[in-house]
Assembly symmetry: C2
Homo-oligomer: 340 residues x 2
């Protein structure tokens, strides 16, 4: 058996209560005793049992991380990086992170993640868009929750998002500065708050430049913003506005790839004929293809902030709801070019 609080107490000639108080750095304990006990803790290499602690404190020391399979399995490093961020920051807050991948079409009758039914988490981080029924069930639980990269309707949960409006603005402004005037927007799932905001940024940039917003240049759908949908959107867009559009801003990098693929299949060069800019910055060294201009989202940071926030929420009951918005950055690479 591992060393317990009793071993420390015996060795230090104090009671286990004293050891416990030393561990929690209670002021009632004299410095002399504290030092003595701490030395022995170190010498014996003692670490408190999480089970015993959990039993008495009714806390688990675990945080649940919920994400849909859509998001996590679509081998995108986007949410993986966020997950790693929470993991890294969890050390600082002495939590462990438990992952649960739920169905993208989570229904009301579906069971909540096992760690919730098991009462094995003190709080939950929800990453990406999730079905409403999940949010409703979470709401009923009265457990601390932080949403990442998604703002659920009708709920006062805390959220960590990025400045999507600003990102959209930066991307489109970049195109405008390159001389583009006929700039299309390609997005999937326009119900998603992030995508809506990116479109809003698009509109703002055009407006500020005195360019009018042409709905014929805006192609959105209710689909997941994936590569294939980018391809289809480009097809619709370019078969109507033939020869007109000189640049495309897509709501994410995956769709940008689909657009580029379509353009190539139709003998349009990127960026020579058409400039394309994405969002997210997920494609770094994984491809030999053109390096995509995009808007960087601080993925690791998002995870870190989420962990900090859920931790604060758990420790401080009064803290109710907090919305954190992280900044984004324009990344100019090779898929955008000055209009000749």
């Amino acid at each position: 058996m591992a060393v317990t609080i009793k071993d420390v107490a015996r060795e230090a000639n104090v009671s286990i209560a004293t050891v416990s108080l030393v561990i929690h750095n209670h002021r009632r304990i004299s410095n002399a005793t504290k030092n003595k006990v701490r030395d022995i803790i170190e010498r014996l290499n003692y670490t408190p049992s999480r089970s015993a602690r959990g039993l008495v404190s009714n806390k688990t020391g675990n945080i649940g991380f919920i994400i849909t399979n859509d998001h996590f399995l679509r081998n995108e490093p986007f949410y993986t990086q966020i997950f790693i961020g929470t993991e890294i920051e969890s050390k600082e807050n002495d939590f462990y992170v438990l992952l649960s991948i739920i169905e993208s079409d989570f229904k009301e009758r579906d069971a909540l993640p096992r760690f919730i039914l098991d009462r094995n988490v003190d709080g939950v981080i929800v990453a990406g868009k999730v079905p409403e029924p999940l949010t409703e069930k979470l709401l009923a639980l009265k457990i601390p929750v932080v949403y990442i990269d998604y703002i659920p309707k009708y709920s006062k949960f805390s959220t960590i998002t990025v400045d999507n409006v600003k990102g959209g603005y930066l991307a489109v402004n970049h195109l405008i500065e390159l001389g583009h005037k006929r700039i299309a927007f390609v997005g999937g799932d326009i119900e998603h708050p992030s995508i809506r905001d990116r479109l809003k940024g698009y509109a703002q940039a055009l407006e500020k430049a005195g360019l009018k917003i042409d709905n014929a240049l805006i192609e959105t759908s209710e689909e997941y913003p994936a590569r294939a949908n980018g391809y289809n959107a480009a097809k619709k867009l370019f078969s109507v506005n033939n020869g007109n559009i000189t640049a495309v801003f897509t709501c994410n990098d995956a769709m940008a790839l689909g657009v580029i693929q379509y353009l190539r299949d139709n003998n349009r060069r990127v960026p020579d004929d058409i400039s394309v800019i994405g969002f997210d910055d997920i494609l770094t060294e994984r491809t030999n293809d053109i390096q995509l201009s995009t808007v960087n989202v601080p993925k690791m940071e998002i995870g870190i902030e989420a962990m900090r926030l859920i931790s604060a929420l758990i420790k401080d009951e009064k803290l109710l709801s907090k919305k954190i918005i992280l900044p984004v950055e324009l990344v100019e690479r090779q898929s955008t070019k000055k209009l000749l």
Copy 2:
């Protein structure tokens, strides 16, 4: 407070011991009682507290997953998929998975993952190549361990690997069947058992076809098998064997990309001039680039098997060491072509 075993016992008019025995489906309990208690458990929506269980059983119900940052951060979905596999299977075995990302240059003086120091796991899964000092420390702990995709030296740990020799054979045999005779091997970190085995498969295929093994066609290093190293390896290879080589087998997909990049930069078309085949099958829909021929590794399956094995190891003390080898599959796509 949540419902406890006492609530169930009271409601069922039995002792808490009986409830406990029913939960563990002990034969001493009559079916009548079992049914009665189970009904009430369901009705009250009771789940046993993991902390309380852990405290008495001296088990945590957690499995640690250790991986180097090299492997996990290099935004490859390879290990992410494996991790998800363990996560999926963990439900069946009623475990939770805790992740720990360690430094690639883990030294003897470095601290073990927090979940080990905290005694917060019952067993550990180690994914990918890890430094020897980590293995030595793990060995000293006498905790169940399963290695994934790596076979540590001097140790009797259980392992889950894939049939790398067979995979190498399949890849190279595929090239041979396409008429290629001057086939190069590109690999990084030849100390890695998997890479060595893939090279072995390469040699076997050549031998079987009566082709002789030419060391000038084999380019390995001690580096991490990444894209950039693939590029450099191709540079060395093709500047010496100019116009000679018609096909390349790389030890993984990342290096294949580097090789293809080099070839393009030097005006060699893939697959028209040179065929390239990789290993791992990690690049699916993330790129507009050429679809790589490769050898598929069942990533999710690996995770699942690892979880099953660690679970067996924990539950059955007698089970000591077991080596599982999973099959691989040739995936013919567009980067390999019949030699004209």
